[in-house]
Symmetry: C2
Subunit: 415 residues, 2 copies
């Protein structure tokens, strides 16, 4: 392990006891101070960001990516507002859950505690730096950030301001540390720092997430891709189905909770598809259908086997026809990525069966998959959307960054 | 991946939908049937076990290990009784937690669901085979077992009976599968079966657990070693301290919740240590003390730096003297393995600080660390004791083998 990386690990572990026992008011004061300083010192951040953008242009980065990298006065204000919102959230640390007395008199409960040290590996969006810090800090964790090399100057400027703000309110600056080397060796070593890091959260594209899952020896929370389906049952309200599919497919195409595939019951196909095509044409959505779908709306492309597993993140929708609810559920459970799945139906029994039998982080009846989001679920914040089943599943708010410990009050009990 | 291993993975995934939706009564009927058949066919199990034991003897296995491998009529009855107890437990699957209505009318709750496919890698105790099956099955999971080569014949016999019992009550036999190859390549490939296995739980010694953590790409629940401390505060009741330490050290020495190290406040040292030594002498416990402890009870061995981190699993206890609660907490947080830690005190403030500041799965006031156990905590069963912070921490009962999914009832909501 490179010695600077080890040093960062040691500092984080050293900060842990202080952070674990910080009072809620101290945490909120620090978050408000950090918000203020990000705005006050926005010109420093913007200058650093300008350098990142110039370098990215020289390296031939695509305009879409450059947009994700770019900061502005407004984006910095929005980062600061994010910190203020996290300050306003309830502090989950210290709560004791389910305390019960055992027959031998022991009083046993679970106290909510921080995870400890959280590692976050992310790509070129520098706003993640402040967002991730805020949630980790509010939950009493130290965070070690490893951002992309494209955003290194922006991230360094943001982290410097956050650290100074912490120190000004007498909180250890090591609550947040940034790994400044951006080479692969450092990233590889970071993923094996089990002695210093309790959990690793990758945020970014499928390639990054796969690399972290395959290489990390630290427990990982997989945030993921979404191949989300909407199944239109034979009893569906056609207008509701069209509205929901239009929303889930086109409201924002590049997000993991967008709809990528329509599954349609054979008995409603002829009523639904022409109306749906008309609506999706407003946004020039390309349709790719199976044989049955193609015969209903002539002129659309045929879908190949590889379409069923695709997360397009584009104005493209695949269409699969099925002849029963069972077939729909089997298709979805085979091709989904465990993210968000919906049924549109007026049939009570089918709604309940779909909810019970579809295996995904979020399963909807008669609503858009686009609601799978920490803010929409009422958590007030989000560190990502987990598509794994361990620890946290679905949108992750503050609770996902906590653990529990058993606390036991006795009066001399022995076995 | 060896083809037989892949075949096992495919079968487990195929069994998943059936297991996920099994009714509680079906699960309990299967468990009761399996208990009955284990007893009925105990002679087959004992014959296979005899072959394992003969082979182990020929391979020069130590008597203590042979004892762990050995089955008897009584041990098989006790395995069967374990199955019956799990049948009697509440079924956690299907429960919906915290359903709330959002301002837009969406009704959002979390439904408890199985994890899916659980892999268990364990060493030579064949009773784990039935225990692990029972808990995984009750929680609607498929389980793939990889036991030690020493117990392969016993495990094969037990799994055969369990599978037949399942089939007899019309439940898929693939709820339990045993990997019969015991070579290293198979184990290595098993730990990378992310497409088929949702979580891996190693059960065994520190070496096995470390190997799984380092090599698995599947999420692991680390069950662990315990370097458990008892801190005797200056205000402690001497008799209570002696009773608790004697119990935690000597009631069963080979277990992870046994006390390995005593931390004693300097101001109570002279009253506590001679009385404690007298009591521990009944079991010939070897004491290894720091300078201060050695000066109080002359003739004991001096402790070296490496004693503080040792899990002896033997009649040995290290003794560290401290001059404050802070020093005790810092020592414990430095050397513990995140398992079980206790304070003996009559001081309210110190009890609360110890509970808040010690970082471990279970933190006790005035009780023996030996209570860290699923049965003692009232879970009715235990799949192991987690010493990690992610997903489950401390004794793991049925809930640790479940996940949740969000279920959302809408009536046409879009964003």
């Amino acid at each position: 392990m490179p010695s600077d990386l080890k040093e960062i690990g040691i500092r984080a572990k050293k900060a842990e006891p202080e952070l674990r026992t910080l009072k809620t008011e101290q945490k909120n004061e620090a978050l408000m101070k950090a918000a203020e300083e990000l705005v006050n010192q926005s010109s420093e951040i913007l200058a650093a960001n300008e350098q990142d953008i110039n370098a990215a242009r020289e390296n031939g980065m695509k305009p879409g990516m450059i947009d994700r990298l770019r900061l502005s006065k407004e984006r910095i204000e929005s980062m600061a507002e994010g910190l203020r919102q996290v300050a306003a959230l309830e502090d989950p640390i210290g709560e004791v859950i389910g305390m019960k007395r055992r027959p031998n008199g022991l009083l046993i409960g679970q106290q909510r505690v921080p995870l400890g040290v959280i590692g976050i590996i992310y790509e070129s969006r520098p706003n993640v730096t402040a967002d991730a810090f805020a949630l980790c800090f509010k939950t009493g964790n130290a965070v070690i950030l490893k951002g992309g090399s494209d955003a290194i100057r922006s991230n360094t400027a943001i982290v410097k301001i956050l650290r100074t703000s912490l120190a000004e309110v007498n909180v250890t600056a090591d609550a947040i540390q940034l790994i400044e080397s951006t080479d692969r060796e450092t990233t590889a070593a970071f993923m094996k720092m089990n002695d210093y890091v309790d959990v690793l959260i990758p945020r970014g594209g499928a390639g990054l997430i796969r690399a972290v899952v395959n290489n990390s020896t630290i427990p990982v929370i997989e945030t993921g891709t979404g191949n989300c389906h909407i199944f239109v049952d034979e009893s569906a309200d056609i207008q509701m189905a069209v509205d929901i599919i239009f929303n889930a497919k086109t409201q924002r195409i590049g997000v993991c909770n967008a709809c990528e595939s329509l599954v349609v019951h054979d008995k409603i196909r002829e009523r639904l598809l022409p109306a749906l095509k008309k609506r999706l044409d407003e946004k020039q959505v390309e349709l790719r259908g199976d044989e049955s779908a193609c015969s209903t709306i002539p002129g659309i492309k045929p879908a190949g086997e590889d379409d069923w597993g695709r997360e397009y993140l584009d104005y493209i929708l695949s269409i699969k026809t099925v002849s029963s609810l069972e077939e729909a559920i089997a298709h979805i459970n085979r091709y989904n990525t465990g993210h968000s799945e919906a049924i549109i139906t007026e049939n009570y029994e089918n709604a309940q069966r779909f909810l019970n039998e579809v295996d995904a982080a979020a399963v909807y009846v008669n609503a858009s998959t686009r609601f799978t989001d920490g803010f929409e679920f009422g958590f007030g914040a989000e560190i990502g959307i987990s598509t794994q089943k361990l620890h946290a599943r679905g949108p992750m708010g503050t609770l996902a960054l906590t653990s529990t410990k058993y606390i036991i009050y006795g009066n001399g009990q022995i076995r």
